[in-house]
């Protein structure tokens, strides 16, 4: 199998790796980079448990090749907290009981993170539509929606504090 060199910025670190051209991004992250936060749930882009952030967009890593990330900036759930401080979405999911088994959580967090970057003050409908590419079997979404709302407030407070 043909191998290629892939360079990317992964969670703030420049990396260079040799990968099989057919390797999916989710397997590259989980098996080659030992970042097991992104999970696998459907292999058809339906469930979103593999969601990561590539160049400022939410992407499902189960249907994306690792080689497509050459020259990209990739952020996974492991890169959300900075300097040991949890990101507002992480804090909010914890405080609002936005997770149960935890399997969808990394994908939910990455989608929520991107959603709030793009729309810092979303309505409930915008949150529900924004999360519609991520499935959860445990929570019924109600507390996830609450968590995203709460994270939006936290981020705005943080912004006004630093402004």
């Amino acid at each position: 199998m043909a191998k290629q060199i892939v360079k990317m910025n992964l969670n703030g670190q420049e990396i260079e790796q040799l990968v099989d051209s057919r390797t999916l991004l989710v397997h590259f992250l989980r098996e080659q980079m030992n970042l097991t936060g992104a999970h696998i749930g459907c292999e058809t882009s339906q469930c979103g448990v593999c969601t990561v952030d590539i160049d400022g967009e939410s992407v499902k890593a189960c249907t994306h090749l690792a080689v497509q990330c050459d020259g990209c900036e990739v952020k996974t759930v492991e890169g959300l907290a900075e300097g040991g401080v949890l990101h507002a979405v992480q804090e909010a999911f914890y405080e609002e009981h936005g997770l149960q088994c935890g399997y969808c959580t990394p994908g939910m967090l990455m989608t929520s993170y991107r959603l709030l970057q793009d729309n810092p003050n979303p309505t409930e409908d915008e949150i529900r539509i924004g999360l519609s590419g991520n499935l959860c079997r445990c929570t019924g979404y109600q507390n996830i929606v609450k968590a995203v709302k709460s994270a939006a407030v936290k981020l705005q407070q943080k912004e006004s504090a630093t402004a």
């Binding site: 970042l35 058809t44 997770l99 149960q100 959580t105 079997r137 445990c138």
Partner: protein
């Protein structure tokens, strides 16, 4: 300066004991991507297994050619049933007393059945090798309909059972018949029906659905050939039982088998059974002497691992003209698929289906369930419910609605008339269940008031009379009782092991503690809530209590987590183990304070000398003393183990109300309101209870409104990916309103009944009741699920509803 003396309330709050909406201990790892699920495990030298599956639903295997697969670099082995035969592992026992093929032995019985396995260096090479294995099949006639399966000339599905007229649950009267199981008193019920002025009957099909947790099934098996030890990480809701089964199958002594259930990405009943994939990965590891990982993909998960339901039910009620129910009769044809692999207590091949008299005082009742083989995948698990309780609750709630319609009575009125009254508890049903406690009337009134039921009915009336109204409005009402917490080991066992559960608590010298349990959390938050029980019982802060589950080498034997049994059974074991420690702690406190035990009073976190507030010993003081200066004659240390065998089941109940608006043009249903009142007895963590209820309601919504596993005549499953199988997103999912009453269980040490499954069990008939109610004025008494827009649209056309 001395620290200020804390008030009683402050001391209590600091413990974060029962009743506290304590945030979850398990979340820190999950929100940082640090959970450890089965597929996250990576061992040195680990190989990957993948499975060759049958494209046909019924056929004879003529030939298997492994060579093209073996020729692929990186492929280590290809194994078929013939390779497992010398080990006698090509068939395995099921939990229901049948056998199931591990790899298809000469014949395949359902589409996607396991035919061969390949083991390779990585999952990509394994997938290539699966494609390369050549299998020739001779196709045989397929039977999908369980009624057709029972026709005299139906194809013989299970040739391995030829001539076997006795099954695990009594006589078999046809080659595709598994068992017929009955409960209640048939002649008394027949008599009641013969005399009753009113009778109603309804046929209904509860479709085959799949629990579909987001994490599929999988394992990592690692056999150490030098030590002869087998360690397997597995997505299992019942690791201890799996250890026993693995030891029995493999011949490895149970002391050398270690099963670890790591973090589990949802179970919902799908992860109770032992699947061929697990067995094959273990065999491969033993044969090759290297760790072997198997991870299912989604298509494999939906197509082959345990389904739920698939009950074809005929319900009958006999009643007086003013709506008092006199008798219940139910006949079920249960489609079990190709092997009887239901996960039920041994003596109950239809689970606890005989809870189907529901919340009602019904004097006579009888039910019979006939299990049938078809060319579908095996299973029949409790999908977020206690064994077959969802089917039972659906049946009785539908029948009560049908009767109400026949008598032109209101749904709430007929229920009030037939409820088991508060003063009748403990109440023995016509099927012999002893209901522990309940107060249905109070709960129903609370819900009717909260939603202003009268106003809703008035609005519905007005809309029905308005030809220009673009929607049909339906009101669903369900008043259900569950039976959970299996169960008393005198009647409940799995493979002969009684369905007790267990807890071991150790208090460390500095006053923190560890508890180990026979259950395993899959999102229920055991690490949080179990600690709260101990905190309240022993006065140790929840924060310093570690809860561990899932490792059979460290935890005491338990039957696992399913059927809402964790709180009713394991929760009781925790309280009882804690009380043993409490009793010993009291002896130590008396010794330290130099008084008699009888002179001590317990107060939140300490024993104090009666009449002398200043003299006390906290649990932390006592823990230190237990390792340092125990009284003479008392052994050092402070720990206890308790195996709790429940005296009875518990009977949580709920009152659910749903308002639906159906678009007359498109058939689209919009859930305007869903009000769920649950009574699960004592409440341990209200935040977690609400979360469990939200999740259960959402799963119920999925089942009622969209989930099904349709098969064509050739036995092809029409929809086995998440592109077809309905899992609701945040957009479709309604907003839930929750409420509660508290009626503790009198026989449970802390009065708790269990909650996680009630919302699934109770909500499904509620959605159904609402949709049917929208059509009730047109004379419609029943519509089978799922209520997809297309199916509802067809009904609108059938009934001539004009926009």
């Amino acid at each position: 300066m001395n620290a200020p003396v804390k008030t009683l309330e402050e001391r209590k709050t600091e413990l974060q004991g029962m009743g506290d909406s304590r945030l979850r201990k398990e979340d820190a790892r999950f929100i940082q991507g640090k959970g450890q699920y089965c597929d996250d495990i990576k061992l040195p030298g680990m190989l990957h297994m993948d499975i060759v599956r049958s494209p046909v639903a019924h056929g004879r295997i003529k030939k298997i050619n492994k060579e093209p697969a073996m020729a692929i670099p990186g492929v280590h082995a290809v194994l078929t049933a013939d390779d497992l035969k010398p080990l006698n592992l090509h068939w395995m026992p099921t939990l229901a007393g049948d056998v199931a093929a591990v790899l298809a032995d000469e014949k395949v019985h359902f589409q996607m059945q396991e035919v061969a396995i390949v083991i390779a260096d990585d999952r990509y090479i394994a997938a290539d090798a699966v494609e390369a294995v050549e299998v020739e099949y001779e196709e045989l006639p397929v039977v999908i309909d369980p009624y057709k399966a029972l026709e005299p000339d139906a194809p013989v599905l299970r040739e391995d059972l030829a001539g076997k007229t006795e099954g695990a649950h009594g006589p078999r009267d046809h080659h595709n018949h598994i068992f017929t199981w009955e409960a209640g008193d048939k002649s008394a019920a027949d008599d009641a029906f013969a005399k009753a002025p009113v009778t109603v009957s309804q046929h209904m099909h509860y479709p085959r659905v799949h629990p579909c947790p987001l994490e599929t099934c999988g394992c990592v098996a690692s056999f150490d050939p030098v030590k002869g030890e087998l360690t397997t990480w597995m997505t299992s809701q019942a690791p201890h039982v799996v250890r026993t089964v693995v030891s029995m199958l493999s011949g490895v002594p149970e002391s050398k088998v270690r099963i670890i259930s790591p973090d589990i990405g949802g179970g919902f009943g799908n992860k109770v059974g032992v699947y061929p994939g697990y067995v094959c990965a273990i065999v491969s590891s033993i044969v090759l002497g290297r760790p072997v990982k198997w991870s299912e993909d989604r298509i494999e998960n939906i197509s082959t691992t345990a389904f739920a339901r698939d009950y074809h039910m005929d319900g009958h009620l006999a009643a007086t003209e003013d709506g008092k129910i006199l008798g219940l009769k139910v006949d079920v044809v249960a489609d079990h698929g190709a092997f009887d692999a239901c996960a039920d207590p041994t003596k109950f091949p239809a689970g606890l289906f005989h809870i189907c008299s529901g919340s009602y005082d019904i004097p006579t009742a009888h039910c019979s369930v006939k299990g049938v083989y078809t060319n579908k995948a095996p299973g029949g698990v409790a999908y977020r419910c206690s064994f077959r309780v969802t089917e039972a609750v659906y049946l009785i709630e539908r029948m009560v609605d049908v009767l109400a319609q026949k008598l032109n009575m209101d749904k709430a009125e007929i229920r009030k008339k037939n409820f088991i009254r508060k003063e009748q508890f403990p109440y023995t049903s016509a099927f012999g269940f002893e209901y522990d406690s309940g107060d249905y009337h109070t709960a129903l009134e609370k819900v009717l008031d909260a939603v202003d039921y009268k106003a809703l009915r008035a609005e519905q009336e007005q809309k029905r009379n308005d030809p220009n109204c673009p929607t049909l409005m339906g009101i669903g009402l369900v008043t259900f009782t569950e039976v959970v917490g299996a169960g008393p080991s005198k009647i409940c066992d799995i493979l002969g092991v009684g369905m007790f559960d267990s807890c071991e608590i150790r208090i460390h010298p500095t006053g923190s503690a560890i508890a180990r349990m026979g259950t395993i959390t899959q999102g229920q938050g055991h690490q949080t809530t179990y600690a709260q029980i101990i905190a309240s019982e022993l006065g140790i802060p929840s924060e310093v209590i570690q809860v561990e589950e899932g490792d059979t080498s460290t935890a005491p034997y338990g039957l696992g987590t399913y059927g809402s049994r964790s709180t009713p059974v394991a929760g009781a074991a925790i309280a009882m183990a804690a009380r043993k420690i409490h009793a010993k702690a009291k002896k130590i406190a008396a010794h330290l304070l130099e008084v008699a035990e009888a002179d001590l009073d317990w107060e939140i976190d300490r024993f104090k000398v009666r009449g002398n507030e200043e003299q006390f010993k906290t649990m932390a003081d006592i823990a230190w003393a237990a390792y340092n200066q125990p009284p003479e004659g008392l052994e050092p240390g402070l720990e206890a183990v308790h195996y709790y065998d429940p005296p009875n089941f518990t009977y949580p109940f709920g009152i659910y109300l749903c308002v639906v608006d159906i678009d007359k043009g498109t058939g689209e249903s919009s859930i305007r309101r869903f009000y769920a009142l649950d009574d699960c007895g004592t409440r341990i963590n209200p935040m977690i209870i609400d979360g469990q209820i939200h999740g259960g309601l959402t799963e119920g919504f999925a089942v009622a409104m969209g989930q099904q596993m349709p098969f064509d005549e050739q036995g092809n499953l029409m929809g086995n990916t998440l592109m077809d199988y309905f899992l609701p997103t945040a957009v479709e999912t309604p907003t839930w309103e929750t409420d509660y009453t508290v009626t503790p269980s009198p026989h449970h040490p802390i009065g708790a009944k269990g909650v996680a499954e009630s919302p699934h069990v109770g909500s499904i008939p509620t959605f159904n009741s609402a949709v049917v109610d929208a059509f009730a004025h047109l004379g419609v008494t029943h519509m089978d699920m799922p209520h997809t827009s297309y199916r509802v649209w067809k009904k609108l056309k059938e009934e001539g509803v004009q926009l």
